[in-house]
Symmetry: C2
Subunit: 457 residues, 2 copies
């Protein structure tokens, strides 16, 4: 007999996974390696060590080890805000009148407001273990910077955040959370780096870009003794750390003998989708189960659905290595009217390979429809979702409404990556009816894809 599922399924602390799952070990077609943009040679650990933390590089390059033990210090930190609840969306089901059973894994109950903390604490730990003084990073809207500032504060590591200047000025709240956790937040472009000074001398009024902030953060890591650069998405190591999400979800589902039919995650750089979905994809790769997995991306930045699977620069600034991934071209930048996060031109190489191999499907959604779903969800489930997460909500509602039509009692699981408390400018646009949908033209996308670097494979 089926057990009555509570509104929230919590694991006990000793049920939190103690290992991260590396889906690459189960992939027949491994993700393509990062390559040097000049020589096109695969990057080795020796190439990466001057820029990134050594043990993280080992994780980055390891396509074979299926499980990595989570160090005890990180396990202890996880207990500060984990296990995160797996919520049965009874209220939403009722509002939709659907026979579908909807679950969401909620990662927003921590001050960073998102799942980013799962990897931030791991990266800070390995930096500390290596004896570093500190780390550098860039942040746009500030979600990653906030998570990293919490993690660095915990391990007493110095943190230099280069925050895109217009965000620094327009999102003072995120900036203050970072400062409260002791981070040194610098508006980018700044006078603290060569690249920043160069940009400022040419464009004194520049309000910055993510590409410029990355360049400054990397320069600061390389030129300051005892610093390394860290990154919150796209990288293999980040997906590895984020599998705590999917593994916890699996453990919670097992408690009530629940098998999801459909698994949904929003996709920007891939840290959330990869974290939630790869433990399930691993079951598929090993032939143990089958799921319909859906990546949801914004119509204004449609890497999977309209991009090309090819080597491209990982960053707009074209200083980072080349990664083989679904990309819109490193110079593609979503419209300024795009409110919903997930603005990265590329995609995790792991997810890109899995998508190319047909392990999941992808769809794009327009932002007013995303905010329709966000508000519907907030009103019945009581959580004001982040715009990013709301892409997954949109698809979950759409799937549940299909079940309503067909009468099918499918079980839907989606990732609710975070809360929207720092995104209220976007909600204001929506509430005022001034939000619009932006879909890049075929010509625009083609113009960027033409300029992809030529790499022989």
């Amino acid at each position: 007999m089926e057990k009555k599922v509570p509104y929230k399924i919590y694991l006990s602390e000793n049920e939190i996974p103690t290992q991260w799952y590396n889906v690459r070990a189960d992939m027949k077609n491994k993700p393509a390696p990062l390559i040097n943009p000049g020589t096109h040679q695969p990057l080795t650990k020796e190439d990466l060590d001057p820029i990134f933390c050594s043990e993280l590089n080992a994780q980055e390059l390891d396509n074979e080890t299926r499980f990595f033990d989570i160090p005890e210090e990180i396990q202890e930190f996880y207990k500060m805000y984990r296990p995160s609840p797996l919520v049965r969306a009874y209220f939403l089901e009722k509002a939709l009148g659907t026979p579908a059973k909807i679950y969401y894994k909620f990662e927003g109950n921590n001050t960073s407001g998102s799942h980013k903390l799962n990897s931030a604490i791991a990266q800070a730990y390995y930096a500390k273990k290596q004896g570093l003084k500190g780390v550098t990073t860039e942040t746009g809207a500030g979600q990653w910077g906030t998570a990293l500032s919490m993690a660095c504060s915990y391990f007493d590591l110095d943190l230099k955040v280069y925050m895109v200047k217009c965000s620094y000025e327009q999102k003072p709240f995120r900036r203050e959370v970072m400062r409260t956790y002791g981070a040194d937040v610098t508006p980018s472009p700044s006078n603290t780096t060569q690249v920043g000074r160069k940009i400022l001398s040419e464009h004194p009024e520049s309000t910055g870009s993510l590409g410029c902030a990355i360049s400054e953060a990397v320069e600061a890591a390389v030129t300051n003794e005892g610093y390394r650069y860290v990154l919150g998405s796209v990288l293999n190591q980040v997906l590895l750390h984020q599998t705590i999400i999917g593994q916890e979800a699996q453990a919670a589902l097992r408690k009530y003998d629940i098998k999801p039919d459909i698994i949904i995650g929003c996709a920007g750089g891939g840290s959330n989708l990869g974290g939630l979905a790869t433990p399930f994809i691993g079951e598929m790769l090993r032939g143990e189960a089958d799921y319909k997995i859906i990546a949801v991306e914004p119509a204004s930045c449609p890497s999977f659905t309209r991009g090309k699977f090819a080597y491209d620069f990982a960053d707009t600034g074209m200083i980072c290595p080349l990664a083989k991934m679904y990309t819109l071209g490193s110079q593609f930048i979503p419209s300024a009217n795009h409110a919903g996060g997930l603005r990265y031109h590329g995609m995790s190489p792991i997810l890109s390979q899995l998508y190319a191999d047909g392990l999941f499907e992808a769809r794009s959604v327009e932002q007013t429809a995303v905010f329709d779903a966000a508000v519907q969800f907030a009103r019945v489930e009581g959580i004001l979702p982040a715009p990013e997460s709301s892409h997954a909500i949109r698809a979950a509602i759409d799937e549940a409404l299909k079940c309503k039509e067909t009468g099918e009692e499918k079980t839907i699981l989606f990732g609710l990556t975070g809360t929207g408390y720092f995104d209220l400018k976007a909600y204001e646009q929506y509430n005022n009816g001034t939000m619009d949908d932006i879909i890049p033209s075929d010509d625009l996308i083609a113009s960027y894809l033409e300029k992809l670097p030529k790499v022989e494979e």
Copy 2:
């Protein structure tokens, strides 16, 4: 043998209390009744019914019923965000190096960001049950307005919020959360009421006050068919609903045979302190246990520690009934430099009577010391606390440091009422070193207390 206490103690859903506890039933000295400011006669249900919801008035006036059943619809809503965790502050204990055991009941894991939702949903429920179209209220910083907008959205009730104009303009994020939940938010003073129009004609540039917003909200309730006025603190009914906090804490503590020595809550109008502490005070009143209970208030608005226990207007606008309470005088307004919430001139009549009867002690703390505690807490416990809650954190840390000196292993429980995501202007002041402490002079307080209404008891 003592069971190992986890970082977070969660009750299961069927352990959420199904009754609210009314401490008045156990009080020998009942709280003094609200009285009519003109006649000085105690207000009857008939007096209250045109302004407030009928069943809430019954709760307000009931000094005898020990437990009120929580209606099933409210129990169901509680499952959206309750049970709230009782957290063992292992990280804080370690950072302080104290032998004390510190626990906090965390009420911030919901979109309203505070405990206010516990009473908002009850008040919305009774309004709906009465067949009302909607309710009106005022909000300053917006915590109560946010909670009520969530509650009204859930029961499909109309909500008119009068928001002090300067907050409406300076705190657009709270305003947008309310609008997202469908509330009609009007900056006060407004043209929608007589009292608002009068103020605007005399002072066109007025940025509003809480007194003015209350007057407008009450007028809107009385003059619009099918509306009543609701309030988020001070009232007996609010303390009643908030006892879900203290009762859940008791149930969680019982699971691990924990008996707190010290219980700490911040005190503004009393909704949080009353909710957390009165179930424990009930044990004291019934001679079943003894606790040291501490109310913590801001030095800039010290109702308990420097006010007078006397009848006074419940509102700055002097249109509400008189309540017997600890008060600084209804015209007392804390300095504009006061950042920490808890700015009400008076205090819950129930708590006032209990304090007069010696059931708990009170202390005041200065705001820079409060933010010192807030930041120390945020950095180790991972939750950015609301300024209000941080008053309790300050006292908890102080008590834990006393234990460090004496070597006593006391058990401390405090109420963490909410998160500070919408209070980052105050954190910015603190981070910039521009926050100062404001303590009203004896002469200033005396000048307000001289003007208290003369009431013969």
